[in-house]
């Protein structure tokens, strides 16, 4: 886990994002417990309240469930939701490609052609 102090992204958000990635990629499996709030704070040298907020964020997104006195475990990931998450990521990358194309003055047809070419080269 990498925490940047001055990235402009709040530290709790960075932690939440990295756990989210691990959960969605399956690196953290269903039923597995996240590290304890105070343990993670100690290991990452950040405040307890920051880790708490990160875990609450994950809970809000339905990725984990809190159990009184035991901690937070990873929820079963709904395949529909997973697809949705990946779709959002895909859209984000494509939007980046579009804005790069606009900056360079590349036409939409050229952009689509490039994408097709890249897909073909991957096969």
């Amino acid at each position: 886990m990498r925490i940047l102090q001055n990235s402009g992204v709040a530290i709790y958000q960075q932690i939440a994002d990295q756990f989210k990635e691990d959960i969605l990629s399956g690196k953290l499996e269903q039923g597995e417990y996240l590290p304890s709030i105070r343990g993670l704070a100690k290991d990452l040298r950040i405040s307890v309240i920051t880790t708490m907020k990160a875990y609450e964020e994950l809970e809000k997104q339905g990725l984990v469930t809190a159990v009184q006195g035991k901690g937070y475990y990873v929820n079963a990931q709904d395949s529909e939701m997973l697809r949705e998450q990946h779709m959002r990521k895909l859209e984000e990358y494509l939007l980046n490609a579009i804005s790069a194309a606009r900056i360079a003055g590349i036409s939409d047809t050229e952009l689509i052609e490039t994408l097709k070419l890249l897909i073909a080269s991957q096969e």
């Binding site: 709040a10 105070r38 704070a41 100690k42 040298r45 950040i46 307890v48 309240i49 920051t50 907020k53």
Partner: protein, 297 residues
Amino acid sequence: MNIESIVRGSHITKQFKGFKVDIDSLNIPKGFATALIGENGAGKSTLMNILAGVRLDYKGDIIYFDGNMKPEEIRENIAYTSPVNYFMPNWTIEQVGDAGRLLFEHFDYDRYRQLLIDMDVKAPEGKRSKDKAIGKLSDGMKMKVELSAAFARETKLLLLDEPASPLDPLMRDKLCSMISAYIDEGSGEKSVFFSTHNIADMENITDYAMIMEQGKIVEQGFVEDLKEKYIMVKGNRADAEQAKEILYTIQTNPYGFEGICLDENLDKLSGMDISTEIPTLSQISVAVMKHYTKLAA
């Protein structure tokens, strides 16, 4: 979030000549590290002394540990370190350890020795080290002895008055680790309340901040909430005059302005070409102190 308090105080006042510490309500959250931040002379040490039982000439009520403990239990469960000479100056570090064992039921002598070695006060076992009198040690060394004696005890609350000030950067870092480890091993039962006039070194491990100005707590909250309440704004010189009306604190120079804005007022800056940043706790503290100093002047 359901937050309990480890110490609750109400209407704590102490009148000095021309200065009054006046704290209407005090709640130190349980299971967290809380920083008491303020300028020199803001009343931090007075509050610390009152909480630690060093100063008894105050008015008000203080309840420790939910009021469930007997006075001797309270004493056993709180460790305190002070920025002024705390031990008898002619005692050696060995004698400080002996006194700790005499005074407290749960004083781990081996842990005390280990902490002294970890903090470079004492040479590792097997090597000879001079047992100097405490009064002959430097301020940094004295603080390290105090911290060793405090962390060697089995407690539920640490009251640390300016623990970082006399320490070098490496030792401040070590102190942060010690506080984190203490909070972690308590799993929500152990709390730390420390004062500082320089929060930058301790900011990463601070959960809750209380900012004191002229004897009063003028702002407090969980750091994550404070970082949403205040926002750092930077903009162009041309907008500085207008921004001055809206910002909480502002500094201008020939090239532009920067300052802290209340998040709720950020909308009022729309139309200006600005960049925003999440402020650090020290930036928030300085802004709050400036704001209240200006108000008082």
